[in-house]
């Protein structure tokens, strides 16, 4: 007879109270983890996580179009080093790698980009980046980049324009 009242009481009063208790315990941990995250390029004394986030974006730059993909607004300054007017984000792939592991990104124009995390420490990560087109090697390079930073690979041809690949290593 009182079940509906009990359900309402549980929903309105008890569940939120438990949520407050749980969140009160969780958020400090999350906040502390964030607070310990160093600024990009800055080493830290905190333990270095085993996993490293690698983000690869594939941007198509063209003279034919003048539209700029709104998702690229934050990095337009870096993309305008060319004289292209139109920029479109074709794809974006996030991967989490441990040392020795790699990820493969299919890139427009029949290309594949392989990113292997060779090593990382408190201040920088070393990655091997290989690009293949139809099975043929286009690029094979190893770079050490400060943690949390991004760099650009650009120039591959695609549909009358160029491809620009911002690559971010974050941990």
């Amino acid at each position: 007879m009182w079940m509906q009242s009990l359900k309402r009481f549980a929903r309105v009063w008890l569940a939120p109270a438990l949520a407050v208790i749980a969140i009160g315990s969780v958020v400090p941990d999350v906040a502390m983890a964030q607070a310990r995250r160093p600024a990009p390029g800055q080493p830290t004394k905190a333990p270095v996580p085993n996993r490293v986030g690698v983000e690869v974006m594939v941007v198509h730059a063209t003279q034919k179009e003048t539209k700029v993909d709104p998702r690229l607004k934050d990095i337009m300054r870096q993309l305008r080093f060319t004289n292209f007017k139109g920029f479109k984000l074709l794809q974006e792939q996030d991967s989490v790698l441990t040392d020795g592991n790699d990820t493969t990104v299919s890139v427009a124009g029949g290309r594949k980009l392989k990113v292997r995390l060779l090593s990382h420490n408190a201040s920088q990560a070393k990655v091997q980046i290989r690009m293949f087109k139809e099975g043929n090697k286009v690029l094979d390079t190893t770079v050490s980049i400060k943690r949390g930073m991004a760099f650009l690979i650009a120039g591959p041809n695609f549909q009358g324009g160029k491809l620009i690949l911002p690559i971010t290593v974050d941990y």
Partner: protein
Amino acid sequence: MAGTTLEKLLEHIRDGEATAEQIAEARELAAHDARLPEEIRSEVLIDADELVAVAVGLLAVLGSDDFGDLLKEALFDELDIADDVMAAISAVTPPVADAVRDEAGDIGIDRGLGSASVLFTAETLEELGDLGLPIRDAVLAEAGHVDIAAAVMSKLDIDSTGLADAIRAEAGDIDITAETLAALGDLGLSVREAVVAEAGAIDIASSVFATIGGESLDFAAAVRTEAGTIDIAARVVTDIGGSVSDIREAVLAEAGEAPNVWMGVIEIIGARQTIVPEAPVIAFPGEFTVSPAASGAHELPPPVPANNNSRWAYGIGALLMAAIALIIVGLTQVIPSSTIGDNASIATNDGDRAPNLEHVIPDRDGGSWTPEAVLVPTDMVFASAADVVVENLESGDDVVVMQMMGDDGAMILWVDEGEVL
């Protein structure tokens, strides 16, 4: 005997027999009754529409009625809702549970329970049914020094970005956000920052554009459409005094040769041609090269030739650029700093962080200029040549790879595949 009085008053309320004075007394007693969860003590018995439900619930919590099992069942029903919510949002990454586990390390649980995956709420509620203890006290008693949140989050596989939705789903029609934020008020960090940080790069802009259909819209055209016929230039000129023609003449008088104006404007807005290090890393087909450190830069033609405009068009373009630059300067003087959001900043050429003031670029179709100046927060930090070491560089046949620097010194590996566009 306050407890006994409270329970009697609650029974009256439950049966619809309580007077306004009795309700007020019950409310006062509940506010100071340590057997009730602290989070609800001062909030209960306020809403007239909820009196009966709250009275029934409080009696169950206080163990006065034989509703312990029913209350447990009701609460589990609500927890089931949480499971559904979490299942629905489980695809969102990265999960906060992982982050919490990473931070928490190994969870030690006393009382011989022997497993980190024990669900405290279930355990607690079972005891609640047996003992009639207030839920919060029981939960806290179970928790001891163990990180109950980690255990609960682990069991439920809660992820961060869905947490707010889950809370809202649980909360029903009460404003749990305000309560939660009040409870978290001492943390010194905003929930938003924590959630955003955990969630990774949330593309708010794309979400907004997806919502308003911006993918298929010319953003500049949309802005113009929204802006109507407001003549910003005229208003700025009015604000700073003078007239458009005065300024145009002044610019022409000061400008001298058009190319100089062009370069001056470029200097002002920070749009530079592509520059490369003095000792750029160049890998010719099949060649292996170790990068020297970039010590400087000089200007080279950009990879793609610019439009070869006629002289008069070049001059007009330079004049317009100068006018727009003056308008920008005027705007920075006219617009009060308070109109700029806390998370936004004016573009600078400081090198590391991507600036967030978009260039003013020409609209080729109409020959007019499209103001795309938008203040947006940025979080991607581009490495300069000093932040990146190219340890080896190989290229395929007919491919030339160069290390270059773009605007603000961002490091670029330029891959020239040798094909004609």
